[in-house]
C-alpha cells in the first residue's frame, strides 16, 4: 500500500501553507515534490515525517500511521547541520544509535557508506595515509619530514574541518545509516560539485534498485527527470500538477521541435503557424501545437527541398511544465 497522503492541510493563524495536498506512492520509486520557494514543500515533508502537526488530512504508511516507530525513515533535511565541534564519528554513531542501529551493524554500515560516499579519510583518519596514497593524492616521498602533518591528519576530524560538500555527504550517510524503507531527500544535490553530485546520484540509484521509497524535493529539474517516476508540483500551498511524470508529459502533448537546417527557414515555420522559441546558426527550437503541425512543417521543408539535418519532436520538459504551471514568479524566486 506504500505511502498515502490525503487532503493534507496546514495553516498558521489565518495563513494556509499547505492546502489539501494529496498524493500516493503505492510502490517503491522516487516521488518528486516540486514548487517554488514558500510553496509548502518543506512543510509538507515535515508533516509527513511527523515533525509538524497537521490541521487536517491523513498520512498512512502501509495502511497504518506513519512515524519513526512504524517506518524506518531516513531524512536529509534542507537545512544541513552537524555539530561543528564534535568528532564526525561520535555524531554519526549518535544518530545511528538514535535510529536503533548499534554495535557491529552500525560499524559495518558506517564503513560501507563511507566507502560508497568517499568520506573514509575523514571518518577513519588513522587510515587517511593509506587511503590518500591509494588515491595518488599523497606524496609519500617526504614521509619522514611530514610526521607532524601525519599526526594532524590522524586526529579525529570535526565537522567544521570539512568542506560543505563533504559535510553534505556525511549527512547523506547519516540519513542512510538505518537502511531506511522511506528516504526523504530535501534538495539532495544543491551546492554539490559535479564529482560529488555523481557520487550521490550513484548511491541514490543503488537505493532505488534496492526497492526503497524515496521522496525527493529539488529545484534541479533535470535531476528530478532523471530519477522520478511521479511528481507533485506545489504552487501557493496547492498541488497544481500531480501524477506520473510520463502521463503528465503526454497530457501536454509533443509540442517541442528541435530543427537543424542549413539555411534560414523562419518563413516556413511561421507559415505553418508554429512559434520559434530560439534560433542559433540555423538550429531552431520551435513550439508546435501537436503532432499534426509538426508533420505539416516537416512535409513543407521536404517539399521545398530544404535539407533537414535534424528534426526532433518531443514532449515538454519538466522545467517547461513547471514554468507553465507555476509561472514566472516561481522562476524569479528560484533565481
Amino acid at each position: 500500500m506504500g505511502l498515502v497522503v490525503k487532503d493534507l492541510f496546514k495553516k498558521y493563524g489565518e495563513k494556509i501553507v499547505v492546502d489539501h495536498v494529496s498524493f500516493e506512492m503505492p510502490q517503491p520509486g522516487v516521488y518528486a515534490l516540486l514548487g517554488s520557494n514558500g510553496a509548502g514543500k518543506s512543510t509538507t515533508i515535515r508533516m509527513i515525517l511527523g515533525m509538524l502537526e497537521k490541521n487536517g488530512g491523513e498520512i498512512t504508511w502501509n495502511g497504518g500511521p506513519l512515524n519513526f516507530d512504524t517506518c524506518n525513515i531516513g531524512y536529509l533535511a534542507e537545512e544541513r547541520g552537524l555539530y561543528p565541534k564534535y568528532t564526525l564519528m561520535d555524531q554519526i554513531k549518535y544518530f545511528g544509535e538514535l535510529r536503533g542501529v548499534t554495535g557491529k551493524t552500525l560499524t559495518d554500515r558506517i564503513a560501507t557508506l563511507a566507502e560508497r560516499l568517499k568520506v573514509e579519510e575523514y571518518l577513519y583518519p588513522e587510515k587517511a595515509e593509506e587511503i590518500l596514497s591509494k588515491a595518488g593524492v599523497l606524496d609519500t616521498s617526504n614521509q619522514k619530514k611530514s610526521t607532524m602533518a601525519l599526526k594532524k591528519r590522524q586526529k579525529p576530524k570535526t565537522a567544521d574541518q570539512l568542506s560543505k560538500g563533504n559535510q553534505q555527504k556525511i549527512q547523506f550517510l547519516i540519513a542512510l545509516l538505518s537502511d531506511p524503507e522511506l528516504i526523504v531527500l530535501d534538495e539532495p544535490f544543491s551546492g554539490l560539485d559535479p564529482v560529488n553530485t555523481d557520487i550521490l546520484k550513484e548511491v541514490v540509484r543503488e537505493q532505488i534498485a534496492r526497492g526503497k521509497y524515496i521522496i525527493m524535493s529539488s529545484h534541479q529539474m533535470e535531476v528530478v527527470e532523471e530519477f522520478c517516476t511521479d511528481i507533485t508540483i506545489l504552487h501557493r500551498s496547492k498541488a497544481v500538477v500531480s501524477g506520473n511524470l510520463n502521463d503528465i508529459k503526454k497530457s501536454y502533448g509533443r509540442v517541442n521541435v528541435l530543427l537543424k537546417v542549413e539555411q534560414d527557414v523562419a518563413a516556413e515555420i511561421q507559415a505553418v503557424g508554429a512559434e520559434i522559441i530560439s534560433e542559433k546558426e540555423y538550429e531552431y527550437r520551435i513550439r508546435v501545437t501537436g503532432d499534426e503541425q509538426a508533420n505539416q512543417l516537416l512535409r513543407r521543408l521536404i517539399e521545398k527541398n530544404i535539407p533537414v539535418v535534424k528534426f526532433d519532436l518531443s514532449e515538454l520538459s519538466l522545467h517547461e511544465i513547471f514554468v507553465r504551471e507555476v509561472g514566472d514568479e516561481a522562476v524569479e524566486s528560484q533565481q
Binding site: 498558521y12 515535515r46 515525517l49 511527523g50 515533525m51 509538524l52 502537526e53 497537521k54 491523513e58 498520512i59 498512512t60 497504518g64 500511521p65 506513519l66 512515524n67 519513526f68 516507530d69 525513515i73 531524512y75 533535511a77 534542507e78 537545512e79 544541513r80 547541520g81 552537524l82 555539530y83 561543528p84 565541534k85 564534535y86 561520535d90 549518535y94 544518530f95 544509535e97 538514535l98 535510529r99 549527512q171 547519516i174 540519513a175
Partner: protein, 454 residues
C-alpha cells in the same frame, strides 16, 4: 480516521541516548571543562583563603596577648595608670618576664605609677632616649593607651607600639582580676545583644515550640536558597547554550526524525544538570580535601572558621529527614528551572538571544529567592511562601525542617512543584520541536505559549 495520533510527542524513547551523548560531549568540550575546573578549584580554595583572611584579622586582634617584654626594645618602661583600677607590678608582670634578649626591657626596669603617685609632666620630662612611657587614660567609653618617648628618643616606633599593646593587655588582666571576672565572663560582657521587640506573646510561645529559633530558621532558609540560586543560575546558562548550539547547528530536523521532543529536551537538560551537579560535588569534595590537608597535614586550627567554605552541612545537619527533604527538593527545583531553560534555549534564534533567556530564568530564581527572604522574615507567611511557586522551591523544605509548616503542607507544596515540572515537560513536548524549527522565535514566555498552539 486520523492515523497520525498526537500521543507520540510524550514518548521518552531515546532519552538515555540523548542524555549519554550530551554528557559525553559536554565532558569533551574544552570550554565547559575549563570552566568546571576553575569552579572546582575556587571551591577548594575557599577554606584556605578564609583561613588566611581570618588569621590575618586575628593576628591584629590577638597580637596583644602574644606581646611580651622581650619584644620591646627599650631601657625602661614607665606605666602611668590614671584609671581607678590600681596596678601592682608584682601581680601584673610575671617574675620571669623580660630580659631574655640583650636590648629588651628587663622586668626590674618596668616602673608602674598609679594615679596620684607622680605628676604626668614630671614623668615626661624625665624620659631618656631609651625610655618609653605608657599613660593609661580613662575615656567616656574605653581606656586609652598613650605611648610617649622623649624628643631625642632612640626607641623604634615598633617597640613603642608593642609597649602600648603590652600595657593594654596587662591592664585588661588587672581590671578583670579586680572585678573578679575570668576570661569567659569578660567574653560574655563583650558579647553583642540581639533584641526582638516585635514579638507578641503568641509568637513567643510559637517560637518556643519550634524546633529551631527564628534566626536559625532564617539561616537555614538563606543557606538552602543560595544553593538553589547558584546551581539553578549556573545550570540554566549551560542548558540554554547547549540547546541553542543544537538549534543553530541546524540539527533539529535530523534529530527529530529519530527522537521525540520530550526525550530530546529531557536528555539534554539532565545531561547538562549532571555535569553541573558533578562539578558542584567535585567542588565540595575538593573543599573537604583542602580542609583535610589543612587539619591533618598542616596541623592548622580551623575551629575559628566554623562552617565557612563549601560543605554539605545543610544536607547532613538535620538527620535522614533533612537529607531526603533537601535532596528531593533540590532535584525538583533544578528540574523545573532546567526544563524551563531548555524551552527558552530552543526559542533563541541567535546567540544574542541566549542572554535574554538567561535573564528570564535569573529573574524567576531571584523572585523565588527574594520572596523567600521576605516570607522568611514574616512568621505567619511560611505556609503561603511554601505553597506559591517559585518561592516554594526555595522555602518549603527549610520551613518543614524548621517546623514552620507541617508534613501535609510540605507534601502539598511538593505536589504543586512536581505538577509544575510535569507541566513544563508537557509544554516542552508541545513547543520544543516548533521552536527548534523556527528561525524567528524569541525567548519570551508568550512566544513559547504561542508555539504550543501549532
Amino acid at each position: 480516521m486520523n492515523h497520525n495520533s498526537k500521543e507520540n510527542i510524550y514518548s521518552l524513547n531515546g532519552f538515555g541516548k540523548v542524555y549519554r551523548f550530551t554528557l559525553k560531549q559536554t565532558l569533551k568540550n574544552k570550554g565547559f571543562v575549563v570552566a568546571a575546573i576553575f569552579m572546582i578549584l575556587m571551591m577548594g580554595m575557599m577554606k584556605p583563603l578564609m583561613y588566611l583572611l581570618t588569621r590575618s584579622a586575628s593576628n591584629s586582634s590577638n597580637a596583644v596577648s602574644s606581646v611580651t617584654l622581650n619584644d620591646i626594645e627599650a631601657e625602661k618602661l614607665y606605666i602611668l595608670n590614671e584609671s581607678t583600677f590600681t596596678m601592682d607590678k608584682e601581680e601584673a608582670i610575671a617574675p620571669d618576664a623580660g630580659g631574655a634578649k640583650p636590648k629588651s626591657v628587663r622586668r626590674e626596669n618596668v616602673i608602674i605609677y598609679n594615679i596620684g603617685d607622680i605628676k604626668e609632666d614630671d614623668l615626661i620630662a624625665g624620659l631618656t632616649a631609651n625610655d618609653i612611657l605608657v599613660i593609661i587614660t580613662p575615656g567616656a567609653a574605653d581606656y586609652k593607651m598613650n605611648g610617649i618617648i622623649s624628643d631625642n628618643s632612640e626607641v623604634s616606633i615598633r617597640s613603642l607600639d608593642l609597649a602600648t599593646e603590652y600595657v593594654g593587655e596587662i591592664f585588661r588582666s588587672e581590671r578583670s582580676a579586680q572585678l573578679t571576672l575570668d576570661e569567659n565572663d569578660m567574653q560574655a560582657l563583650a558579647a553583642g545583644i540581639s533584641t526582638n521587640s516585635t514579638m507578641t506573646g503568641k509568637e513567643y510561645t510559637d517560637e518556643k515550640s519550634f524546633t529551631m529559633t527564628n534566626s536559625e530558621f532564617n539561616g537555614l532558609l538563606m543557606g538552602f536558597s543560595i544553593i538553589i540560586l547558584i546551581i539553578a543560575s549556573l545550570s540554566s546558562s549551560y542548558i540554554i547554550a547547549s540547546v541553542n548550539e543544537e538549534k543553530q547547528s541546524k540539527l533539529a530536523e535530523t534529530l527529530l526524525v529519530s527522537v521525540r521532543p520530550m526525550a530530546l529536551l529531557l536528555g539534554k537538560v539532565l545531561g547538562m544538570l549532571t555535569f553541573v551537579m558533578g562539578t558542584i560535588v567535585c567542588g565540595v569534595l575538593m573543599s573537604y580535601a583542602s580542609e583535610f590537608v589543612m587539619t591533618n597535614v598542616m596541623k592548622l586550627d580551623l575551629s575559628k572558621l566554623g562552617q565557612t567554605g563549601i560543605n554539605l552541612a545543610i544536607f547532613t545537619g538535620y538527620g535522614v529527614k533533612g537529607l531526603i527533604v533537601f535532596t528531593c527538593e533540590i532535584l525538583i527545583a533544578l528540574l523545573a528551572f532546567g526544563i524551563l531553560s531548555g524551552i527558552l534555549g530552543s526559542a533563541c534564534s541567535k546567540t544574542e538571544d541566549q542572554q535574554n533567556a538567561v535573564t528570564v530564568v535569573t529573574m524567576l530564581t531571584m523572585i523565588g529567592y527574594f520572596g523567600t527572604v521576605y516570607f522568611g522574615l514574616k512568621g505567619d507567611f511560611a505556609m503561603i511562601g511554601s505553597l506559591v511557586p517559585p518561592v516554594s522551591f526555595f522555602m518549603a523544605p527549610s520551613a518543614y525542617i524548621a517546623g514552620r509548616i507541617g508534613l501535609g503542607i510540605f507534601l502539598g507544596s511538593c505536589a504543586i512543584q512536581i505538577a509544575i515540572v510535569i507541566g513544563l515537560l508537557m509544554l516542552g513536548a508541545k513547543t520544543y520541536r516548533n521552536l527548534l524549527l523556527s528561525d524567528t522565535s524569541k525567548p519570551k514566555l508568550q512566544t513559547i505559549f504561542a508555539a504550543a498552539k501549532y
